[in-house]
């Protein structure tokens, strides 16, 4: 295990019933590293990052996040979740709360922040994602791109060390993808440790420190973007790239 890894997956195996979905996954992520995970659907990429904040349980192997090992221990799980923020494909904003309330909910209840302080924090985050004027609106009143940006702000409000993105733009109409990617690029340039599962290769080329390609539950190839896109080693990677880059 690398000494300066903030996330360490070693020999991780997971089954859904009889289906072997993660096979001997090894991954080390350093602080401030930006990782982009890609691969065909069903390859286990989402499952892998969902194991990192224990939304899914792994049956074999070790996962260590910022020095805390992920086991059945509930306290550990809670500590890890405070460090790790997650952005979902379906945004998952709380529809019965306003945008501001969505963001202040966790700081108030988990970090026991006073309301005024939490609201100030929320406005700061909304500035970062560039939609402060929507603070009092409700999620149902926002466009997809705006909702996803609120979701990012909501995760950022907990001041995580690590941000996980599970296909953040896949549910968006094309004209709104850019606004979300721009926010993510800003975040990356600010030094956040990020793991992003996505098909947006343009974004990957701009931001990624390392590309990780998964297929059928295994990490097939990891490389820096230049090498990954121009000179991939594995045939499977080559096949995938040819399919995805031919649009």
């Amino acid at each position: 295990m690398s000494e300066d890894s903030i996330i360490s997956l070693q020999n991780v195996n997971k089954w859904f019933g009889d289906f072997h979905v993660l096979k001997d996954v090894d991954l080390q992520v350093k602080k401030k590293e930006r990782i982009v995970v890609c691969g065909p659907s069903g390859s286990g990429k989402s499952t892998m990052i969902r194991c990192i904040n224990r939304l899914e349980e792994h049956q074999e192997g070790t996962i260590i996040v910022d020095g805390i090992e992920l086991t059945g221990n509930l306290k550990n799980i809670d500590s890890v979740r405070k460090e790790v923020g997650m952005v979902f494909q379906q945004f998952n904003l709380f529809p019965h709360l306003s945008v501001k309330e969505n963001i202040t909910l966790a700081p108030i209840w988990v970090k026991k922040m006073p309301k005024a302080e939490a609201e100030e924090l929320a406005m700061q985050q909304l500035e970062i994602v560039k939609i402060p004027e929507q603070a009092d609106k409700y999620p149902g009143q926002l466009s997809g791109g705006q909702q996803q940006r609120v979701a990012i702000a909501r995760s950022l409000a907990m001041k995580p060390n690590i941000m996980l993105f599970d296909e953040p733009t896949s549910a968006l109409d094309p004209e709104m993808i850019k606004e979300v990617l721009d926010v993510m690029i800003d975040l990356a340039e600010g030094g956040m440790t990020m793991i992003v599962v996505t098909h947006e290769m343009g974004f990957a080329k701009t931001v990624a420190d390392r590309m990780v390609f998964m297929d059928e539950g295994r990490i097939v190839e990891q490389a820096v973007p230049e090498k990954f896109f121009n000179n991939p080693e594995s045939d499977r990677t080559k096949l995938f790239l040819s399919q995805i880059l031919n649009h």
Binding site: W15, D18, F19, H20, E216, R218, I219, V220, S234, D235
Partner: protein, 377 residues
């Protein structure tokens, strides 16, 4: 970075019987305690009830081998410790449960009606039924045939509805109620959504009135008040009066269900139909209603199940449906006290019908889900 993609089997403790038990029954302390408790209760209860209903029960003969013709000969009366259910009461009175007091030499008409009911209904329910179109023609004619068969006339001896009873009455009320309430409900639903304020208001008032009062009051209305509305000399059959009340009741609920279906159809359908020149009625018959009904079929079946159960209320106005015959059997001194057997039997019959209907509803929902998805591309 290997290219091989073999899979392994998951670790033993998480799958197979052991894994299943761990996850589903004993996942933590509380669950384990609860599982053990429930298992204990079940182990006490299930053998006892199986014993009472089947193994130690009398069907026709008691444990001495005698044929049971009254309650005194029931095993559980002679030997309360060991005797099981005395099903003889059902066996002896079976005819009444099925037909009421229908004259025995005419009962072939009822049996024929039952068979024809099955023939009329089953093809209606299943899309893939062979020669469905021809069967459906029979379905349209069936009500008329059944009416004459059961009632009399046209050369058949007439059997007054006073003599009808048991399952016959339950089925007549249920099937006729559903069959009549359906078109009436469609008319009410369309009326409620009509642009003509008078029609819309009248339909809305009717629906809300019916849905606000208990069925019993409507049954009383039918039995007691309806005769007052009729001119002299016009007598309405008791069963018919109840049928009117039941139909009106059900049509209001049916109307709401269909209205839900009508509301679920996108405005674009209405607009498209109008713009190709269809009249109001053509639009409804050809475009809107078929879709609305398809969407609301599960709810329609649900309200029909409710109606079927509600037919038991007629015992309060003196009609002898299945439950009524049951209560009558209990009042007979020959069989006094065998309440559990009778009520168990009646519950079982109802359960069979309603369970079948709700299974059908689930089957329809599943079928419609794929149907709707296939169309929406």
């Amino acid at each position: 970075m290997n290219e091989i993609t073999e899979s392994r089997k998951p670790p033993v403790a998480t799958t197979g019987i052991l894994g299943w038990l761990r996850m589903n029954l004993f996942s933590n302390w509380i669950n384990s305690l609860i599982s053990l408790f429930v298992l204990y209760v079940l182990i006490q209860f299930i053998p006892w009830i199986l014993n009472w209903t089947i193994f130690a029960a009398d069907f026709k003969y008691n444990f001495n081998g005698e044929e049971i013709i009254n309650r005194e000969l029931c095993s559980r009366v002679l030997d309360p410790e060991n005797g099981g259910a005395c099903w003889a009461i059902i066996y002896v009175r079976f005819y009444q449960f099925m037909y009421g007091f229908y004259p025995r030499d005419e009962v072939w008409r009822v049996n024929l009606s039952y068979i024809m009911l099955a023939i009329a209904v089953v093809p209606l329910l299943f899309d893939k039924f062979p020669f469905r179109k021809h069967f459906l023609k029979f379905t349209y004619v069936f009500p008329v045939i059944a009416f004459f068969l059961l009632n009399g006339g046209l050369g058949l001896e007439s059997v007054s509805t006073n003599k009808w009873g048991g399952l016959l009455v339950t089925l007549v009320l249920g099937c006729t109620g559903i069959a009549l309430a359906f078109p009436l409900g469609i008319v009410l639903a369309l009326g409620r959504r009509s642009n003509l304020p008078v029609i819309s208001m009248m339909c809305t008032l009717f629906i809300e009135f019916i849905r606000g009062v208990p069925l019993i009051t409507l049954l009383f209305f039918g039995m007691v008040m309806l005769p007052l509305f009729l001119p002299e000399g016009v007598n309405m059959d008791g069963l018919a009066r109840v049928l009117v009340a039941v139909t009106l009741f059900q049509s209001a609920y049916m109307a709401e269900v269909i209205r839900g279906g009508l509301q679920a159809i996108p405005q674009g359908q209405y607009e498209a139909a109008r713009s190709i020149g269809l009249s109001y009625w053509q639009m409804n018959m050809k475009v809107v209603l078929p879709q609305a009904i398809r969407i609301s079929i599960p709810s329609i079946v649900n309200t029909s199940i409710g109606l079927f159960k509600d037919t038991t209320l007629v015992i309060i106005v003196g009609l002898l449906d299945l439950l009524g015959i049951g209560r009558g059997a209990l009042a007979d001194t020959t069989w006094l006290g065998l309440a559990y057997e009778v009520y168990f039997f009646v519950s079982l019959v109802f359960f069979i019908f309603t369970f079948a209907m709700s299974r059908y509803s689930l089957y329809l929902e599943k079928k419609l889900k794929t149907g709707i998805n296939m169309g929406a591309d």
